[in-house]
Symmetry: C2
Subunit: 205 residues, 2 copies
């Protein structure tokens, strides 16, 4: 690849990162190209589909997402590890609206990110089991509750981003208290893993 081409590729990635963070995954390609200071053709030659662009832009964020589970597991206190994980991931959503979309919308989003998502899900299982075994996380907490939280948080983050950028902390604060074993009362059945998978796979919107 020619040196100038590589430079332009980076400029597109930077512009896309910015715009996705501000406006979510549906930022317009023309606007990305404009902000990058290149023609639209340049964008499309490097990233023929939207997925290619999204995959490239969020590769590092997804790596951080996977790393978050590992760090949570590194915490000697299982409950603190769990709480820290939830807070951290929700903060990542608050900091980047595009990333909030990536976490709550699998299709038609980059295959490249899928692997990371699966790896995160696996580590998450261990984290939850450990927290339950410690007695602090309620026994009826389900894996599927995690994407449920992420979806709820994504809604709050999107709606309050400008007017009340910390509102999500309040929601997460309530939820974490509800997850504590001491607060446990019977709950409605969680969605099945398959249902939740399909919800995440829904075509945009």
């Amino acid at each position: 690849m020619r040196a100038d081409a590589e430079r332009n590729r980076e400029r597109v990635l930077d512009a896309a990162r910015e715009l996705f963070a501000e406006e979510g995954l549906d930022a317009s390609t023309n606007e990305i190209a404009r902000r990058a200071g290149v023609g639209v053709a340049t964008l499309f030659r490097r990233f023929p589909t939207r997925d290619d662009l999204v995959g490239a832009v969020f590769a590092d964020r997804m790596a951080a997402y996977v790393a978050a589970t590992d760090e949570a597991l590194a915490n000697p206190d299982p409950w603190q590890g769990f709480c820290g994980y939830i807070e951290r991931v929700c903060r990542m959503q608050a900091d980047d609206r595009g990333f909030a979309d990536v976490l709550t919308l699998t299709f038609p989003t980059a295959k490249a990110l899928e692997d990371d998502r699966n790896r995160a899900a696996e580590a998450l299982g261990v984290l939850l089991d450990r927290a339950k075994a410690s007695g602090r996380l309620r026994q009826d907490f389900a894996h599927q509750d995690v994407p449920l939280i992420l979806i709820a948080n994504a809604g709050v983050v999107t709606a309050t981003r400008n007017a009340a950028p910390d509102a999500w902390k309040r929601l997460v604060g309530y939820l974490i208290q509800a997850f504590a074993a001491e607060a446990a009362h019977p709950l409605p059945e969680p969605p099945t893993p398959r249902q939740m998978y399909r919800a995440l796979m829904r075509p945009t919107n």
Copy 2:
């Protein structure tokens, strides 16, 4: 107004009610007209702005929303009244995606609905005070937490409507347990009423 015109007006309202319920407030005007079996001009003559249409379609839903606070107040148990209210309003969102939008998006939505919203907010204040006085609702619950719940629920409802239509019950179950005084631990500050107002007034999306 001519009799046939009145008939067409009803057909437009019915079609809009259906489409808004299925697809949310951003259903296309052309599609509404098509489903109603009338030309687009007919729709626009009766409802020159989107607001006029939205206001007419959701007038009765908003009335039901106001009535929900009254019914909650009619419940002799303040805590049950509160819980029933939250569940009921969230169910209304789940049953009608357009209504979920109306509740979480003030602008550019119908002025006509604004009055109802304010009336509901007033009755809600009484409901919350009563529930707190009973000792079952935590003292640090804020008025602003109600729209926060509605926003979170709207996100879940929108995302899981097809794949896991009951997922919202799980979220609401957790939240209600977190609202119980017995579970109370310190929380992040709630957004100010003014912040929350501005979040609801955000231009669509």
